[in-house]
């Protein structure tokens, strides 16, 4: 279970293996929390982007089996646009942000379902093979409007979740500016634009596809931990 770097091994599309996820970037995902954002444990709406790391053990390719831990029973599939960094991005200005983007890819971010955004255990998000990236990187020039793409999740061929990259709290350029204000992104790093509210749950035996219009489609089977 590892991303076939061969598919990406042409600069500027070589992947570094570092993937940063973003949460609550869909207006609907934040709105769904309603007044709870001001209650404990959160006490205030998020100010900075809500980010997490998908470490290298999580990386997988289309076609790989995604293992569902026996203790979880099901996983949540987070369909996200992956922004592939093309050159060192530090303190990027919103108006220049696309100059730092090599291209885009599709990411299926699988996690053990959890309700709290406060301090979820890393074991819910860092499972081996839980971050499927690919199937290729589409050059930036071919995607003039990354902030208006259809995103679909299919289970056994039927669409179960349809969303769009439009109407984010932070669009691609704004997110790059806000993230690189405090952390530099390197060529090949992947920054996820965010997962929509209502990410579907999937279980062993399901065939899961994630598609983002012109960028591509991932196909993965979910399997039990111990067959």
């Amino acid at each position: 279970m590892s991303v076939s770097l061969l598919d990406f091994d042409v600069p500027p599309y070589r992947l570094s293996g570092t993937v940063y996820g973003t949460l609550l970037n869909h207006q609907a995902a934040l709105a769904q929390l309603g007044g709870a954002v001001n209650e404990p444990p959160y006490k205030a709406a998020p100010k900075a982007p809500v980010l997490y790391v998908k470490p290298r053990n999580t990386l997988a390719s289309t076609g790989d089996a995604v293992v569902v831990p026996d203790t979880a029973g099901a996983l949540e599939v987070g369909a996200a646009l992956g922004v592939v960094i093309g050159r060192t991005a530090c303190r990027v200005q919103e108006q220049d942000a696309f100059a730092y983007v090599a291209g885009y890819t599709v990411v299926a971010d699988f996690s053990v379902p959890h309700d709290s955004y406060y301090r979820p255990s890393v074991r819910l998000k860092a499972l081996d093979g839980s971050c499927v990236v690919g199937p290729s990187v589409t050059p930036r020039a071919r995607i003039p409007s990354p902030d208006d793409l259809d995103v679909g999740v299919f289970v056994d061929g039927k669409i179960v979740h349809a969303t769009t990259t439009a109407g984010m709290v932070r669009n691609v350029a704004r997110l790059l500016a806000d993230v690189t204000d405090f952390m530099t992104l390197a060529p090949g790093d992947v920054l996820l634009l965010g997962v929509a509210a209502g990410a579907p749950r999937v279980a062993p035996g399901h065939h899961v596809s994630v598609e983002i219009g012109p960028i591509g489609r991932l196909e993965n089977d979910l399997v039990k931990e111990r067959p």
């Binding site: 949460l23 959160y42 998020p46 900075a48 809500v50 860092a126 952390m183 530099t184 390197a186």
Partner: protein
């Protein structure tokens, strides 16, 4: 054996201690201020512990833990010995965290506690800075607090595991401008190294170069531009770092 990675005279070298100087692999002996110290190993996944000393948990008003508080960091935050770390002008509380860094040497999944130490290649010292002003209650500790450029200082030496031995009870301390501000001993871990390796490898495959930052004891204080912060762990090393202002970074 202790070894460092340094940049000197146009190349990256492995270096070993030579009195109070350094000996490069090619035999040259240089002063330690003539080199640029790099992180002493190729850093893989950075796994960090919150509140792994009972006293620090108490200091921050935390109750008993059911499982380790683990968070992940990206490689972009890492700098070496003698590097500078920026303190933004607008913050009120930026603090160091002196931590034993455990470097994985052998890959593994579902590693039992009894085998865990065989997966450790060695150790170094970490200073894992935090800016508490930026703490938000969303996926704590959020990356703006804990994954900042220059916020993870590693070094100066990579120390082989066999030099430390199977029982890792090491006194550690932090000095700010030469004055001791933080003290502890790794024997006071809430979750010890074998436990952490067993816990982590139950859901993630550990790989060579992955590093576990094992948390910090009580005694974190605010640091200001110009302060020299030294994190020491007996037998592992003495990691020096200086706080710089926004001006030094052109902002």
């Amino acid at each position: 054996m202790k070894r460092a990675r340094v940049a000197y005279s146009g190349a990256i070298h492995e270096a070993t201690p030579h009195g109070d100087q350094l000996k490069l692999a090619d035999g040259r002996v240089v002063r330690e201020d003539q080199v640029v110290w790099l992180p002493p190993f190729e850093v893989g996944t950075i796994i960090a512990l919150g509140l792994n000393y009972a006293d620090h948990a108490k200091e921050l008003a935390f109750g008993a833990q059911e499982e380790p508080l683990v968070f992940l960091k990206g490689p972009g935050s890492v700098v070496g010995h003698r590097a500078v770390t920026r303190r933004p002008k607008d913050v009120k509380f930026m603090h160091y965290e002196c931590e034993l860094a455990v470097v994985i040497g052998k890959a593994g999944r579902n590693i039992p506690r009894s085998d865990a130490m065989a997966h450790v290649a060695g150790y170094t010292v970490a200073n894992d800075y935090a800016i508490r002003d930026y703490l938000e209650n969303w996926y704590r500790p959020n990356l703006r607090v804990k994954n900042r450029d220059g916020g993870t200082v590693l070094g100066p030496w990579f120390v082989d595991a066999e030099d430390i031995g199977p029982t890792v009870h090491l006194p550690l301390r932090t000095l700010v401008n030469g004055k001791v501000t933080q003290q502890g001993n790794t024997r006071d871990f809430v979750f010890d190294i074998p436990y952490l390796i067993e816990y982590l490898s139950a859901f993630m495959r550990l790989q060579p170069g992955d590093v576990i930052l094992t948390g910090t004891p009580e005694g974190v204080v605010d640091v200001q531009p110009g302060d020299e912060v030294t994190c020491e762990i007996d037998g592992v090393g003495r990691l020096v770092n200086t706080i710089a202002s926004d001006e030094a970074f052109g902002r």
